[in-house]
Amino acid sequence: MGKAVLGLFTYVDDMLAAADKLKKSGFSDVTIFSPIPLGHEIEHVLGERKNYVKYFTFLGGFTGFFVGTLLALGTAALYVLPRGGRAIFAVTPTVIISYETTILFGVFFTLMGFVLFAKLPSYKKKIYDPEVSIDSFGLLVDVSEADINDVTKTLKESGANEVKTVEEK
């Protein structure tokens, strides 16, 4: 049940400056809300984020490939019905099935990765201001009771239109 301070900015550079400042003064728990993806602008301030999703994608593709191959070859072995004089275990058509399942599972796993990392869906009430889906950039700082004023001040100084103190549930 900590407290947090949310500052709403009009300009990104203001917000980033504020974030930078806060970070430097030791507030590590900084969340930025924005209506658009900010990408590398944020990375300057908050540091680079690792891309774990790609492992999921890879794993998914890998799994998919095997599932597809197993499905195509394995089920052919379960009920042997020769067709077209071709080998029951034919590689060429299996590749196509595996290809598709590779992608399918890749997509699924990527989705899983996203869901896992972005912690979505989450319908719990969280700190949020609808303005950030329009044109405000929010800066949320977890603070202890003592630092509220400091942070508020810093934010205001950096150009925030509005600063509120909110309680985290």
Partner: protein, 261 residues
Amino acid sequence: MGKFLDKILERFKIYRIPGYYEKYDHKWTMVIDLDRCNGCEACVVACNAENNVPVVGKEECGNKRTLNWIRIERYVEGEYPNVKVKFIPIMCQHCGKAPCETACPVYATYHNQDGLNVQVYNRCVGTFTCATYCPYDVRRFNWFTYKRDEPLNQQLNPDVTVREMGVMEKCTFCIQRIRAAKDRAKDENRSIRDGEVQPACVQSCPTGAMTFGDMNDPDSKVFKLAKSQRKYKLLEELNADPSVIYLKRVMKDGSSATHEE
């Protein structure tokens, strides 16, 4: 689980190479001597009677939706008076490398242990792919539920199912007769004799143009006939490896048909 995998591996050994099907129990084959065939269409009616092929009526004939499993194609060469007419009965060729079999997504058509290309009507979902892939245009589709006027339905052969609307059907080489012959042979504890199985068309053919037998049996009549120099397979260049072997018609070229001394 281990046993299961062993089984799969064992199958893998057998079926990984194409050509395994050549080791089958039988390889039913038909030899059609085009020099004997006179195009009389007795085979067509025989097939209709044996295989419960419905009559579709004039309008549907006009829509080219007859369901005859065998047809006699007629080709004309030359102009009057040097006209040459050639007949060829065409039914399912029971291809060893059948294009239709690979096309079916649900295994409704496949190659069985007798070297037959068989159609499992009840499995068919009607994607039409097999018929489109068939180079010989021998597959027939049940466009409707065909009614047989009472009491014509009393003629229906109980050994052959009446196909439902929406399924593909085709010549089976009268598989019910093969089955009956096998049944007899099993009762008598012997193998099937050559000539014991005769599909309806072969049985009826007045000129004896058609011969049916097991190609895996070197003493069979078809085996001997297939050694003829006149043998050819229809559209052989497509490499579908048909089980129907045609013997070429002996005929003068269309151009020199009349005036020779």
